[in-house]
């Protein structure tokens, strides 16, 4: 019989490593995606994945079995990524996490769906502008935006993940969108012109 997340979490909290293994193998890819979107860097994302599951293992006894395991896990993962981003900032080594290769990969991806010259030009613009724009967000704004836009968290879940009130979470999403919009707007102006 296949364990549900709640069953596996309950067993794992009692020290059953096989149950914990089920959770790790089931959720690793999703945690990696979240971590990558938050950090923009593959190696950092791998570090976040590992740290997330180590923290989960230590904190399993605090997990409320009535809650959704995925939400709890992503909250921990988002916090790990936040810690990493803050550590990076403290080290004052904000590298450019994604190079031209990633931008071109994205360009191919977008262009393949809609190869009209105008869209290709715009996609090229956006590919080059998005990562720097994301890097200019504060850690909290980037986390709020990734959780809202890519992970589909609602405001209450984002607030819980960030440890802030709903109003602050909502405002963080707005600020992130506002900054991204301003940063990406020129791609539309070029396309229109």
């Amino acid at each position: 019989m296949e364990w549900t997340d709640a069953q596996a979490a309950k067993q794992a909290s009692k020290g059953n490593q096989q149950a914990f293994r089920v959770l790790v193998e089931r959720h690793s890819r999703a945690v990696f995606r979240l971590a990558f979107r938050m950090t923009g860097n593959e190696q950092d994302a791998e570090d976040v994945v590992q740290e997330t599951f180590l923290r989960v293992f230590k904190q399993l006894h605090t997990f409320d079995q009535r809650a959704a395991f995925g939400t709890w896990l992503y909250r921990i993962s988002a916090n790990c990524a936040l810690d990493l981003l803050r550590a990076r900032k403290a080290r004052n080594e904000q590298q450019t996490p994604r190079g031209d290769e990633a931008a071109l990969h994205w360009l191919d991806h977008v262009a393949a769906r809609d190869p009209s010259p105008e869209r290709v030009t715009r996609s090229r613009q956006i590919a080059g502008m998005l990562e720097p724009a994301l890097n200019r967000l504060s850690e909290v704004e980037r986390t709020a935006f990734v959780l809202r836009h890519y992970e589909g968290f609602d405001i209450a879940q984002i607030a819980e993940a960030l440890g802030v009130g709903a109003g602050a979470a909502k405002h963080s999403v707005f600020r992130a969108v506002q900054k991204l919009r301003r940063a990406l707007q020129p791609a539309w102006e070029v396309g229109a012109g």
Partner: protein
């Protein structure tokens, strides 16, 4: 007519507006146009690509995790061999680097080469520090004899001080700060008794946990190695 604020349009995009706002967007040409512009931009970033991880990825993560889980601790003999050999090599490297700095014999070695040696020495040191921190994080008071951990902490302490000094001289404040945090933990363990009480152990574990030391060590170790290899 009063138009919607940008924030209201953003919340409408994410489906967090009430029906009145949605109705307004449908009926007001200006707001509809503004909403469309916002939607185009937000839709355009949805395709943000993430490197693929295949089906075996979960198993790979598990394999990386198991050495760090409490029930899968490696045997002490293996650790001693693993820890001490590289530690001597690192000490030699650090001493060499520190000697170069203090004696100003800069003619024979480039700045880049010195930076490379320092970064790789920091990376090696942090790797061994990570093992000790992991051990301490997962230890329980029933594990009565901490004499091996104490010896390891003393070895690491010497190395740590040299590296912290070198990092400071090289202007690497962030690494020096991390090494300073590590030094406080090593001091506790190195100067503590071979048999730690549950309370002592808990304090050490809380310090490691509350400062996120293990995570910082892992990040910095990776950074230092990558940068050192690139030089």
């Amino acid at each position: 007519m009063i138009h919607l604020e940008e924030e209201q349009l953003v919340h409408a995009y994410y489906g967090e507006s009430d029906s009145l706002f949605k109705q307004h967007i449908e009926q007001c040409p200006d707001c509809r146009a503004a909403y469309q512009r916002l939607k185009e931009i937000l839709d355009s970033v949805t395709g943000y690509p993430v490197p693929e991880r295949n089906q075996a990825y979960g198993a790979e993560v598990w394999a990386r995790l198991t050495p760090h889980l409490p029930l899968a601790r490696p045997p002490a003999v293996w650790q001693r061999w693993w820890v001490l050999g590289p530690a001597f090599a690192a000490l030699l490297a650090i001493a060499f680097w520190a000697g170069v700095l203090t004696e100003h014999r800069q003619a024979g070695i480039s700045v880049t080469a010195r930076q490379r040696v320092l970064l790789l020495a920091i990376s090696d040191h942090l790797e061994r520090s990570q093992i000790l921190l992991t051990e301490l994080s997962h230890a329980n008071a029933e594990h009565a004899d901490f004499s091996f951990e104490r010896t390891t902490a003393r070895d690491l302490l010497t190395e740590n001080r040299l590296l912290r000094e070198s990092a400071l001289r090289a202007g690497d404040i962030a690494d020096a700060g991390l090494l300073d945090e590590l030094e406080r933990v090593f001091l506790n363990v190195a100067n503590g008794p071979a048999t730690l009480s549950a309370n002592d152990l808990e304090q050490i574990q809380q310090r490691i946990e509350s400062e996120g030391l293990l995570f910082k060590v892992r990040i910095t170790r990776t950074d230092a190695r990558e940068k050192g290899q690139k030089l």
